[in-house]
């Protein structure tokens, strides 16, 4: 009906022959944590450009895409509703296709030549998870980049989140090649996914802390500089698929959690229980199958039979990377 569909980006740039970092949020309309983190980054970078943060200066090109799936965000939905389309399964898109294809293609073209890229993603639907980094088949440079994004979250700690030191290796699936992140990797962009939190919600305290991690990352890759401060490598723990243990519900019903994400669990620790909706009877108690870190926990209480309610990271082949400089 004549309303424009626009894709906005905020850009800070110093010089022409510089490295570029692209940060993308809001591929799904319910990934609100990413939107919030980008808004914090925008304010920070504008303060840098305006000289309100002494010592910092823009040293490269930084472009932030706060809200890609505008239609879904406006509707409060996850997907691009006009086509029932998961926008993160539509890359690289097409310059001559339908609107969603064109939007994906524009975003891809604006970011595919970047040296570095960050995709801000939420947890799995109806779950909450600790903030963590995701990588696809990481080589040395990706691992190195992850260590600069990793680091303790001030105000986190054992009672809250264990820090952004968790790095999961993603598992490629047939549909994975249609994701923006995979397109970046295929285009040799040093790209990482920053995931976590819960969908359809914002955690301002954690986002405020994550801002420091992203600033450290920007210092490390050289798009941001500081007169005295240098980027610091954080401690990262790399987990492959073999290190993940999913706990599923044998019964359907109401899931009442007892454990909290980020908690280091001992084998046998109760994760929660399933209750029958009609009788209130306990159908099943769910326990940690072995020692591990609780990465993801069901946040929405209604559960289908065989659904995953928790994911643990276990230390089967734990590899530590210390912050050697």
């Amino acid at each position: 009906m004549g309303e424009a569909v626009s894709l906005y980006k905020n850009v800070w740039e110093k010089g022409h022959f510089v490295d570029t970092l692209s940060i993308v949020a809001g591929l799904h309309g319910d990934h609100l944590n990413g939107l919030h983190l980008v808004s914090l980054l925008s304010r920070f970078l504008q303060d840098v450009e305006d000289g309100r943060l002494p010592g910092f200066r823009i040293a490269g090109k930084i472009q932030l895409f706060p809200m890609v799936n505008i239609q879904a965000v406006m509707e409060g939905e996850r997907l691009w509703s006009f086509d029932n389309l998961d926008l993160d399964l539509a890359f690289p898109g097409s310059s001559c296709g339908e609107l969603a294809d064109r939007l994906c293609n524009v975003l891809y073209k604006h970011t595919a030549d970047s040296n570095y890229a960050l995709l801000l993603d939420a947890s799995e639907k109806r779950c909450v998870s600790i903030p963590h980094i995701q990588l696809l088949q990481p080589d040395r440079s990706l691992r190195r980049a992850a260590r600069y994004l990793a680091g303790e979250i001030p105000g986190g700690g054992p009672d809250r989140f264990p820090g952004l030191g968790i790095v999961r290796e993603l598992q490629p699936t047939p549909a994975f090649q249609l994701r923006l992140y995979n397109q970046w990797i295929e285009n040799n962009v040093c790209a990482l996914v920053l995931a976590g939190g819960r969908s359809a919600g914002i955690d301002p305290e954690t986002n405020g802390a994550l801002l420091a991690n992203v600033v450290n990352f920007m210092l490390a890759v050289g798009v941001l500089a500081h007169a005295t401060r240098k980027a610091e490598k954080g401690e990262a723990r790399f987990y492959s698929l073999e290190n993940e243990r999913r706990v599923s519900a044998s019964h359907p019903g109401l899931f009442l959690p007892e454990a909290r994400v980020g908690e280091s669990l001992r084998q046998g620790r109760k994760l929660g229980e399933l209750r029958d909706i009609y009788s209130g009877e306990t159908l099943e108690e769910l326990f940690a199958p072995q020692d591990g870190l609780l990465l993801t926990l069901r946040d929405y209480p209604l559960v289908y039979q065989n659904e995953t309610v928790a994911t643990l990271l276990v230390e089967k082949e734990r590899r530590w990377y210390w912050p050697f400089s």
Binding site: L79, D86, T173, P174, P252, I277, Y304
Partner: protein, 322 residues
């Protein structure tokens, strides 16, 4: 007819959800061939579901009256995304996922991925040939057609010619197909025809009747049925199109599309297809004319359009018509 549940799980209320398979077994100890029909991967695509009804009805009567006609085995999966079907939605509700983008995923990833894996395994285990029935989405209507990925053309084209469709479209491989049921079955060496007809949320009885004839013909051609009361009518000789024989007309402007043509119409270069109008200002934004000569086999049904929206696809009369 034997009814089996191939995937079953319970919802939060405890109600059971099942994917059901109807099997018409062979009169022989060892079936000559096993053919499977499935519908409803997208829950709003009802043409295939109705077609399964027609097929089950036909096969039941045949089983009662002429059981010896079953030389092979026929499996019918009328609703493989039952919750989406009840909801009338393309996606599996609650999870908001497209089942036809989950095929080939590891089972542990989610309940829908696990269900897809079980369904795929069951189909592989009981099919020498499969037909995956689809309608178009809510935007477009399609003449009955079979779409074939180029890599599988040699094996599938002779089978597709038996199905009484109007069009067979042989198109190049694209990444999006790798997570579909049809592609995964073909990769697993189960020849699978992916059929599109009509539009979602509606039933076009003529199309369904046409494809029922095609399904019965295919079953006889494949040696699964040998009925004395086989329909003797001629089946259609479809237009077989390569990628460069399909012309796409897209909207240059956003607005409301008011079409002037019907599915199956012949158009020439310069013929008017419709108008794109601005209802707020009362202006005609674009007079859409065909740049091609040929037959319309896809037509825009949802009038709301953005720039780039497909309006018609034309089966070109020849390579020079582009």
């Amino acid at each position: 007819m034997r009814t089996r549940s191939v995937v079953a799980y319970k919802g939060p209320s405890g109600a059971s959800v099942e994917i059901v398979k109807q099997t018409f077994s062979s009169a022989r100890p060892k079936p000559a061939r096993r053919v499977s029909f499935l519908a409803g991967l997208h829950g709003d695509e009802l043409e295939g579901v109705y077609l399964c009804f027609l097929l089950v009805q036909y096969l039941r009567r045949l089983k009662e009256t002429e059981p010896g006609a079953f030389l092979g085995e026929v499996n019918v999966y009328p609703a493989v995304n039952p919750q989406a079907l009840c909801h009338g939605s393309r996606l599996w509700p609650f999870f908001s996922v497209d089942m036809n983008r989950l095929m080939g995923e590891p089972a542990g990833n989610s309940l829908p991925a696990g269900a897809c894996r079980e369904l795929l395994a069951d189909l592989k285990g009981c099919s020498d040939l499969a037909v995956d029935l689809h309608s178009s989405n809510q935007h477009l209507a399609e003449l009955p057609q079979i779409r074939i990925v180029k890599d599988f053309e040699k094996k599938l084209l002779p089978l597709a010619l038996q199905c009484n469709v109007d069009v067979i479209w042989v198109h190049p491989m694209a990444g999006v197909f790798e997570s579909t049921l049809g592609y995964n079955l073909n990769r697993a060496k189960v020849p699978t025809l992916v059929m599109e007809l009509g539009i979602c949320l509606r039933i076009h009885r003529d199309f369904c009747s046409q494809i029922l004839d095609g399904a019965i013909h295919l079953l006889h051609h494949a040696g699964v049925l040998n009925s004395s009361r086989r329909p003797r009518g001629e089946i259609k000789m479809p237009l077989v199109l390569k990628a460069d024989q399909v012309g796409l007309v897209q909207a240059k402007r956003a607005g409301l599309f008011a079409g002037r043509v019907k599915l199956g119409d012949r158009v020439g270069k310069g013929d008017k297809i419709g108008d794109v109008v601005d209802p707020v200002r009362g202006e005609t934004l674009e007079e859409v004319v065909s740049p091609f000569k040929g037959t319309i086999f896809t037509l825009r049904e949802l009038p709301l359009i953005y720039e780039g929206a497909p309006l018609v696809r034309v089966a070109l009369d020849g390579p020079d018509e582009r």
